[in-house]
């Protein structure tokens, strides 16, 4: 029983973690929260579905193709929409919420009912420590690790990545050092779209895909990101896993009616006690 809850919690947590990464990437570069992130994740899942239905790709190439396409879409949307919202964070909040509403309802017209996603990770199940484990869960956990490792490599070892990091740390300084800030920001959005779409391909086969699938997951992923530290990638991953575990444990041992409360209570307490989150470094307190 406990093992079962633990496995469910870690898998759920990894999902929050990957979706949360989208929030983190944008926040690091812009000091803004993109509230359409949950809906971008949803749209990314449908992008994955469209590709998976057309071409019978195995899991790994599917993820790469979807990620690359989403990256390009991210560049375009940044140029068309986000670039005009950098005015201040309030404008960005409401503008991105508007984008989220557009995405949800546009997808809903095309897909009024939830649809199944091809089982690209197979339907296998094995027992581990007395608990049933879906093979797809193993994929989720493994790919979360791969994703974090590749992001780490990107930011550490590539020129583009170092430029992105410089912009995240101090935009003016980066600009003075000759970094094309505008391009770096666009790439950051591209990256956040790619990560969201990859998260979609991971989650799609576990469940179904529907127009409102991004709403609650987006909110919880956001909580996870802030809890772990919204300017820290490792923090977001840690935050996701902890929130996933806490939530599933509450559902298992306390009450499933109140388990949705957990991420938000944890988020509020964390913001009041330590706004940086577990691993974040910044001073978000004024005066």
């Amino acid at each position: 029983m406990f093992a079962q809850i633990l496995i469910g919690g870690i898998a759920t947590g990894c999902i929050y973690a990957i979706v949360g990464l989208g929030f983190t990437l944008v926040y690091r570069a812009m000091r803004m929260v993109n509230f359409a992130q949950g809906q971008i994740f949803m749209a990314g899942t449908f992008l994955g579905l469209a590709i998976a239905n057309r071409f019978a790709l195995p899991a790994a190439p599917l993820i790469i193709v979807v990620g690359a396409l989403a990256f390009v879409i991210g560049l375009i949307v940044e140029k068309l929409v986000f670039r005009r919202l950098y005015h201040n964070h309030e404008v960005f909040v409401v503008g991105s919420i508007g984008l989220g509403i557009v995405l949800t309802n546009a997808v809903r017209i095309l897909f009024p009912e939830p649809v199944p996603f091809p089982k690209v990770f197979g339907t296998g199940i094995f027992t581990f420590g007395g608990a049933f484990v879906q093979v797809a869960y193993v994929w989720v956990v493994a790919l979360t690790l791969v994703l974090v490792a590749s992001l780490h490599a990107l930011f550490t070892y590539t020129k583009t990545g170092r430029a992105l990091r410089a912009v995240a740390a101090d935009r003016e300084m980066a600009s003075a050092m000759g970094v094309d800030v505008r391009r770096s920001i666009a790439q950051t959005f591209g990256l956040s779209f790619a990560v969201a779409a990859i998260a979609g391909v991971l989650i799609g086969p576990l469940y179904f895909v529907s127009a409102d699938m991004g709403d609650m997951v987006g909110m919880k992923a956001f909580s996870a990101a802030v809890f772990g530290g919204i300017n820290s990638i490792p923090g977001t991953i840690l935050g996701g896993v902890i929130i996933g575990l806490l939530e599933t444990l509450t559902g298992g041992y306390v009450s499933s009616a109140y388990k949705d409360l957990v991420p938000f209570v944890v988020l509020l307490l964390m913001l009041i006690a330590r706004p940086n989150g577990l691993l974040g470094r910044e001073t978000p307190v004024k005066v």
């Binding site: 809850i5 309802n105 009912e113 649809v115 469940y207 529907s210 599933t248």
Partner: protein, 373 residues
């Protein structure tokens, strides 16, 4: 400042006034946007079909029927405004409504305005009560369905150990409470009761406890897509219990989302083509008429809207005209045979259409009428 404010108010004035003449106006309210879109469109299509047939046959007493459709965006607050707009446009009665929280909100408006309102798409038992004067409902309530499935479970299905999992929204909780009460009268206690949130994706912890209780029947009270996900995960976990449920599950999407796991599930439903030949013929006609639209035709609520207008409303209009008080009395005294329903149906004193329940079973990837061998 306030000239601007005044001009805004004037602008509002202009926007709201529609054409004020017509023969007989039938209002339709439902979510044509938002989460209920596909149901709302079904309701609208059912109304269009019935009204076209009546008008093509010469209308009622020489008068044509006119349809007035409003969208409530599947949202309770907007539903109040939408109903108000129907009342303002002078509809003679309203047939429609999707979603219990929307109907509970908008019926307050029609009750106050004294407009007869026949609800076709909301199942919360609280909608029909002694307090209503103008509100009726033709679709089965949650309570009747939950009671009926409980009787079938302990009766023809011979279940001995029943576990329950329910959505913690009004629909799931309402069904669960009535189901458990009905089991109790049959002298049975559920072996396990679990709940989940509509947005949940992972049901492992609930299912682990259900598996430990070794049920032979698992009642699922919820809606799509959580219900088929639970079925899939339950089978993956080695739970072999037969699934039972109520109308929230009786939807083609259940089968497309849980093609193997849903096999053998027994459900109460709102409309089945299998009850009689007339129902089957109607459903074929309906699907043919609307297969070109943006949405796949969904007969369930369209059938209720169509039958309500055709069999309950139209005869009353023919008899009494548009007088609202007479209309209310006439609807309340309806008694008769409607296709797709076994036996006769009539309204009880709360305005609920009393009817025999319809049971279906998932058999080889489609719904068919359930027959207790």
């Amino acid at each position: 400042m306030k000239p601007l404010l005044a001009s805004v108010a004037a602008l509002c004035l202009l926007a709201g006034s529609g054409p004020a003449f017509a023969d007989i106006k039938i209002g339709v309210i439902a979510g044509m946007s938002g989460p209920g879109t596909s149901y709302g469109i079904g309701i609208q299509q059912g109304a269009e079909m019935a009204i076209k047939e009546i008008n093509d046959a010469g209308g009622i007493g020489g008068q044509k029927l006119q349809l007035v459709v409003v969208d409530d965006a599947s949202n309770p607050a907007q539903s109040v405004t939408a109903m108000q707009s129907l009342v303002s446009q002078g509809v003679d009665l309203v047939v429609g409504g999707w979603g219990s929280s929307q109907v509970l909100a908008n019926m307050e408006v029609s009750e106050r305005a004294g407009v007869p309102y026949v609800v076709v798409g909301a199942t919360n038992p609280h909608i029909t009560s002694d307090k209503n004067k103008w509100t009726f409902r033709v679709i089965q309530t949650d309570s009747l369905m939950a009671e009926q499935i409980a009787q079938s479970a302990t009766g023809v299905l011979k279940m001995k150990r029943i576990a329950v999992i329910n959505d913690s929204n009004d629909y799931g909780v309402g069904n669960r409470d009535i189901f458990i009460a009905a089991l109790k009268t049959a002298g049975m206690q559920p072996v396990e009761v679990e709940s989940y949130q509509s947005s949940d994706k992972d049901f492992t912890s609930q299912l682990a406890r259900i598996r430990a209780a070794e049920p032979d029947g698992l009642a699922i009270f919820g809606t799509i897509p959580a219900a088929p996900a639970i079925m899939n995960q339950a089978r993956d976990f080695g739970i072999t219990a037969r699934f039972i449920g109520t109308g929230g599950l009786a939807n083609e999407a259940l089968i497309s989302l849980a093609p193997q796991a849903s096999e053998g599930a027994v459900l109460t439903t709102y409309f089945s083509e299998d009850v009689d030949a007339e129902g089957k013929a109607w459903a074929d006609r309906y699907v043919k008429a609307f297969s070109e639209g943006s949405q796949t035709p969904r007969p369930v609520l369209a059938a209720w809207e169509y039958r309500t207008i055709k069999f309950i409303v139209a005869p009353c209009l023919a008899k009494n005209g548009v007088d609202k008080t007479k209309m209310r009395e006439c609807i309340a005294s309806f008694k008769g045979k409607i296709f797709g329903l076994p036996g006769e149906a009539s309204f009880d004193k709360t305005g609920q259409l009393e009817q025999q329940p319809v049971l279906v079973e998932v058999h080889k990837g489609s719904f068919r009428g359930f027959k207790a061998n």
